[in-house]
Amino acid sequence: MQRFNLYQEEYYPSPLMHVWLEFKRSHIALVGFILLLIFCGIALLAPLISPFDPNLQNTNAILLPPSWEPNGTINHLFGTDSLGRDVFSRLLFACRTTFGSSIIIVFVSVIIGVGLGALAGVLSGVRSSIVNHLLDSIMSIPTLLIAIVIVAILGTGLFNSMMAITLALIPQFVHQTRTFVKKQLQKDYVLLDKLDGAGPTRIFFRSILPGMVELIVIQATLALSIAIIDVSALGFLSLGAQDPNIELGVVLSQSLDVAYVAPWLVFIPGLCIFLMVLSVNIVGEGFRSALRNRLSR
């Protein structure tokens, strides 16, 4: 980074800036990051950029092929589905639902998970070995399996499936925060804080949390890719979002009925899920290796 250096001082980028500089060095990571930004844009702006109402049925124009096919029209970029709804608009809204709900899921589970984990770490008296062990075992069960169990109890629906996935993701954050906090509590700087008379709340928020942000971000990108796959898998199995909610997995499973005459209707929504997960994974990977490079220097 070129800077005008007035005072002839050495420039030390902040740790976070350092990570970003490392991150930028990888082109693939940058492409993933841009892709992720595009999905964020779609999630926010879907109602503004979609050319049609995604639920508008037009029985005069059913199963139109995408516009690059010889008899496709320019009005419907990706053609129409078996009820004459514009596939492009539906995809935009579906991305919005899938991506948006996954972000919410991760956000909520980070807050609850970190909170509980911090509590468990700071108030170390509460823990019992058995509870910890159970928590560890639960963590190793795939979130989707837990989500299916919870959906079976709560009933199907987008909100219920979001709740189920959130519940399934929380233990990971609890575990990580607790381990981290316990480790830090033994370090000297915390002891210093204690000698200064800081209470547990202050120690956590002022001393430990800032050092934990990167860890949480890494865990959150992992959780985000899991959440996207889980939301769409539940939608695909008709256990998650139901019809009026447009969700990528739902769009995919609805297209199965016309899979033979309109294979693109199956291909495109799946591709969206794939790209979404891929971009999250690439960004997560880039971030991790950037962090590793920073630490190893």
Partner: protein, 520 residues
């Protein structure tokens, strides 16, 4: 179990049978899986021309007054020997008496087994028409009626009038497991039941002792595949030799491909949207009309049947002599619909259910899709619709108990008589037997339908049915949607499979010219 690819056939069916005894169920899935595989009837329809031909009865006499029928039974007919039953005697008059008395008499020990409802016979009121069923000797049975009935013989030839084994039934009763009678079926038919797993398969093996020389495949497997797209995929890969109800959108593909064959026949059927008239606000004819006015039928036919259907004005299709070409119907008029709703005091944002049947049928190849279309139309007049769907057998049980608001379903005729539309669909008698999905009971209508049977003069009957039509129009217990073509698809190498217009699928003429070997 002999396996030979030449002699076996896989048929991909669309759903699970409700029972293995068609007496208990009018669903065509049940009829397909049992009626012409496991069982025989006293009489049969000739599939070519619909004439009645001998079945288990080799000949029959009708008395001059039309009240007494005497059947001479075929000798030496053996019931199936299977891993769960070995017969000790041949078919005789006792089996006929047992099979008829089971649904006829509510005092019969087997009457209540399996629920005590015999939908086809109950909806026709047949149990009230029979005076007695008497054994004359071991191979001669007499059936006496209270009043002449010209359709009686035809009823004995339908899929539902199967002959069960009395010996097997008695054995089961003695062992205290009578419900096996309808789960592990024993009949005299061309195929023996082997085993069944829900949502997976039904397996049959040829009955080499059938009274007709055995023909057709040695082994038949029904591969139960609920999704029509998956059936299509299996047909393409050759996992299925024939499939039920190909999806309308795949029809052109099947016709184009040289390795597949499409069978089609105009169907004697009607697909409709029924309103549960026992439930407010659907007990108000104005509300029902408003709903019918709110939906554009043309677009339903375009999108769901892809044009492979005729718009329905009334219950019967144009192939029937009772068809009324000048019949009235409600057109698409959302403005009027809204007015009617306001008059009836239905609040804005009123919420109702549309039950969409989960299986494909000729009369409604995709009820789910149709429900989605209707939902949008209802939203235009300020009604919020929820789509309900369930497993097919549970779905029909729920409909019979009348918990639905409205339902997308239909009717496939069992014979060409218009009475087979008017009576089971809308008469009072058909509510408990579970074929009248609208719960609509109108004495005036019932009187008309009864009156129409008293004469043989077609012109008179037609007039009466037209009166019934206008009653249906005024009351709108249902909105008729379409009369559709019936389709089946097979691999090109399969020959001899025909769409049976009179009931369930039959395999006795099916053969395979050459099958690609399974090992390459």
């Amino acid at each position: 179990m002999v396996y030979d690819s030449i002699d076996a056939l896989t048929y991909c069916s669309e759903s699970n049978p409700g029972s293995f005894n068609p007496q208990l169920d009018t669903s065509s899935t049940t009829a397909d899986a049992t009626a012409h595989q496991v069982y025989d009837r006293l009489l049969e329809f000739n599939p070519e021309n619909g004439r009645i031909i001998p079945g288990l009865a080799s000949s029959w006499l009708v008395s001059a007054d039309g009240l007494t029928y005497t059947f001479q039974l075929r000798r030496g007919v053996k019931f199936h020997t299977t891993h769960y039953f070995t017969p000790n005697r041949n078919f005789n008059a006792d089996d006929v008496i047992f099979s008829i008395d089971r649904w006829r008499s509510d005092k019969h020990p087997y009457h209540e087994i399996g629920g005590g409802v015999y939908p086809y016979f109950d909806s026709l009121g047949l149990y009230q028409k029979i005076k007695h069923v008497k054994r004359i000797n071991g191979y001669r049975v007499e059936i006496a009626l209270f009043a002449p009935d010209s359709s009686f013989l035809a009823n004995l030839a339908t899929d539902f009038a199967v002959i069960l084994s009395a010996e097997y039934a008695n054995l089961l009763m003695k062992d205290g497991r009578p419900s096996w009678l309808d789960k592990f079926p024993i009949g005299t038919g061309p195929y023996k039941f082997v085993n069944y797993r829900q949502n997976q398969f039904i397996r049959f093996i040829q009955n080499e002792e059938h009274f007709l020389p055995p023909s057709g495949p040695k082994q038949i497997v029904f591969d139960i595949t609920l999704r029509s797209s998956l059936r299509m995929a299996k047909l393409i890969t050759g996992e299925c030799d024939a499939i039920a109800f190909p999806s309308q959108s795949d029809l052109s593909v099947i016709e184009e491909r040289s390795d597949l064959k499409l069978l089609e026949k105009p169907g004697l059927n009607v697909g409709y949207w029924g309103f549960n008239t026992s439930k407010p606000p659907f007990d108000n004819p104005n509300v029902r009309q408003a709903l019918a006015l709110a939906v554009d039928k043309t677009s339903l036919i375009d999108a769901v049947y892809l044009g492979q259907a005729v718009r329905a004005k009334g219950l019967v299709p144009s192939a029937s002599w009772a068809y009324e070409s000048s019949g009235r119907e409600l057109g698409y008029n959302p403005v009027r619909a809204k007015e009617l709703l306001e008059q009836a005091g239905v609040p804005n944002n009123f919420s109702m259910d549309i039950w969409a049947m989960p299986v494909q049928r000729a009369y409604n190849p995709n009820a789910m899709k149709m429900a989605q279309l209707i939902k949008r139309y209802l939203a235009d007049i300020g009604i919020e619709a929820n789509i309900v769907t369930q497993d097919w057998n549970i779905f029909r049980q729920s409909l019979r108990s009348g918990i639905h608001d409205t339902v997308l379903i239909g009717w496939n005729a069992d014979n060409g008589d218009p009475d087979n539309f008017y009576r089971p669909l809308l008469s009072c008698e058909a509510i408990p037997s579970g074929t009248n999905r609208t719960m609509w009971c109108n004495p005036e209508y019932d009187a008309l339908v009864d009156q129409a049977l008293l004469t043989d003069v077609v012109e008179t009957r037609r007039q009466i049915y037209h009166q019934a039509n206008s009653l249906i129009f005024n009351e709108t217990p249902l909105m008729p949607i379409a009369h559709a073509f019936q389709y089946q698809a097979t691999r090109a190498e399969i020959s001899g499979l025909r769409i049976n217009p009179y009931g369930g699928i039959r395999f006795e003429n099916v053969s395979r010219t050459a099958k690609e070997n399974l090992n390459d």
